[in-house]
């Protein structure tokens, strides 16, 4: 996310303004500390409560590795699909023009406002045993619900806006004349995209991909509903955490949550840091 630099203005600081300043900063620090930092610390403490050895023992089980592998698979497929189609949607947003385009803007953010549970339920209504496409799926012997395809579809829906929302402002800032110049010099469409457009959008892609990937790894509600959370079959990491908590395997739940949370945080903060360093 964008770095914010402050412009310090010279308004005479009185005694009361100094105290107000301290008070406001203190209140914000306390709020952020209690709401975000303290729970994070509590999670780390919970995971290490029985020692690192116990932590490794609960993580190092075939079922848990399977959950991690499954989560990773879903994340990769989702990223690939959104990179291709998200780019197309973002391009249409910025460059294309046709009647009814405003509708596009209105529907793009809808996934943010749909509950993950409802997303999973939608897919059951379409692909489920008594769903709209049930006869077709039965004839072709395709299983979507309670299987990997359904979980991928659910994650795709939930992470839909990220790629587009990241790419649109970058594409808007990009100067079309660069492309036009390339075209005048005889460059073809694909050549122009590869050599002119793509390098300019590179950081948009990197940020969009990491954000999509992080969200895909952490999706819970939609994947639980459509996948059914069948142990050893449709269990992702968040679903494993949920089950571990239910079965009072606290170290397992905390350790997996710590691993998943840290990975997502490092992914996002790392990209942000890299991008800032490149800009400087």
């Amino acid at each position: 996310m964008a770095t914010i630099t402050t412009v310090v203005r010279g308004r005479p600081s009185t005694r009361s303004s100094v105290w107000r300043r301290r008070l406001l900063i203190g209140v914000v620090a306390l709020y952020v500390g209690l709401l975000i930092v303290a729970p994070l610390v509590a999670l780390v403490r919970g995971a290490f409560l029985e020692g690192a050895a116990a932590m490794w023992q609960v993580i190092n089980q075939p079922g848990v590795w399977r959950a991690f592998w499954q989560t990773l698979q879903i994340g990769v497929v989702v990223v690939v699909v959104h990179t291709v189609f998200g780019t197309a949607v973002a391009w249409v947003f910025v460059r294309d023009d046709f009647r009814g385009k405003w509708l596009l803007n209105a529907i793009m953010d809808l996934p943010f406002a749909v509950s993950p549970v409802v997303v999973g339920y939608m897919l059951i209504l379409i692909f489920g045993r008594r769903g709209l496409l049930a006869p077709l799926l039965a004839a072709w012997d395709i299983q979507v619900v309670f299987a990997l395809p359904g979980m991928v579809l659910a994650t795709l829906f939930v992470t839909m806006p990220f790629m587009v929302r990241v790419l649109v402002p970058v594409l808007e800032a990009f100067d079309v004349r660069q492309e036009q110049a390339a075209a005048t010099l005889g460059a073809g469409g694909w050549f122009t995209f590869r050599r002119v457009t793509f390098p300019a959008l590179r950081w948009g892609f990197v940020y969009g991909i990491t954000l999509t990937f992080a969200r895909a790894l952490g999706e819970f509600g939609a994947v639980l509903v459509v996948g059914g959370g069948i142990q050893g079959r449709t269990e992702t990491v968040p679903i494993y955490i949920f089950r571990a908590l239910d079965e009072r395997m606290y170290t397992g739940a905390y350790s997996a949550a710590l691993l998943l949370g840290l990975f997502s945080i490092l992914l996002i903060l790392g990209t942000d840091w890299l991008r800032r360093r490149r800009q400087e």
């Binding site: 406001l24 620090a29 952020v32 249409v92 993950p116 209504l125 954000l211 905390y254």
Partner: protein
């Protein structure tokens, strides 16, 4: 799909443009429009009366009411604290400011289920802080409405901050300085000059966090438990109905949640369009 007529001046049809447009629109249509329509179609298939009856069943109605009031409380707290955080980040320099700025985005990166687990690890009845609050204030946090509000606050914290911050940053402080030279008190300056400028982004940040909160599941399902009439929210209710294959109840509540959230999102769009016109 609208076919584009080629102007006489260009001799060739822009296949690439039409291709990308077709690809983008069919993707959105298949992935977004169809699934959302299916829910509405299923919800309304038994008629408006049945839908209304399903939503106003005591257990469903109380889940919806709980969702709405906890989301509203969250939106108000988030508005006040988000505004304050943005103000402190933009106007003051202090040690640890970069860290604070980075922490704001953490909730976007942390999976919502992990958020729920984190809150239970801190405020749970067996934990130190949770027990202390229970003893001194007689209030449970986890498996109770305060836990729901906390979870929602965590998940939506960046919404208000990131919506107010850029506007506050662009704000010309010359006006405030002028008011200060005219002996206006700092509260008057904030109330009459600063606040009117950030009112709209503040409101849209609050409304968006409200819309997002209506459907929140991962963070809540652990924190709130699943106690009907006490801590069961609308999303958790839908989950239960889907599990017990009660199609009517699940569809009705889904439609209600989507109608509320979509109206709020549409309201934000309207406010932003009006704000741009001035």
């Amino acid at each position: 799909m609208a076919s584009m007529t080629t102007p006489a001046t260009t001799p060739r049809i822009p296949w690439a443009r039409l291709g990308i447009r077709g690809m983008a629109l069919s993707y959105l249509f298949i992935m977004l429009i169809i699934p959302i329509s299916v829910i509405f179609w299923d919800g309304f298939s038994e008629g408006m009366v049945t839908l209304w009856q399903e939503v106003t069943k005591p257990i469903a109605w109380s889940a919806l009411k709980l969702t709405l009031w906890t989301s509203a409380v969250m939106a108000i707290i988030n508005g006040v604290m988000g505004l304050l955080t943005a103000f402190v980040l933009v106007r003051y320099t202090f040690p640890g400011k970069t860290t604070l700025n980075a922490i704001i985005d953490l909730p976007l990166a942390i999976p919502t289920l992990v958020t729920g687990l984190m809150l239970v690890a801190l405020y749970g009845p067996q934990q130190v802080l949770g027990q202390w609050i229970l003893e001194h204030f007689g209030q449970r946090i986890i498996f109770a409405p305060p836990g729901i509000v906390l979870a929602l606050l965590f998940v939506t914290f960046p919404f208000v901050v990131r919506s107010v911050q850029p506007v506050l940053l662009d704000l010309d402080q010359a006006q405030e300085d002028a008011a200060a030279t005219l002996a206006a008190t700092s509260w008057m300056i904030f109330h009459r000059i600063t606040f009117p400028a950030i009112r709209l982004p503040l409101l849209s940040g609050m409304l968006l966090s409200f819309a997002r909160a209506i459907g929140e599941f991962g963070a809540i399902v652990i924190v709130a438990g699943n106690i009907p009439f006490r801590s069961q929210t609308a999303a958790v209710y839908v989950y239960g109905e889907v599990e017990s294959e009660n199609r009517l109840g699940a569809s009705a509540m889904s439609v209600a949640m989507m109608l509320i959230a979509f109206s709020v999102v549409a309201l934000v769009g309207y406010l932003e369009r009006r704000g741009r016109r001035g």
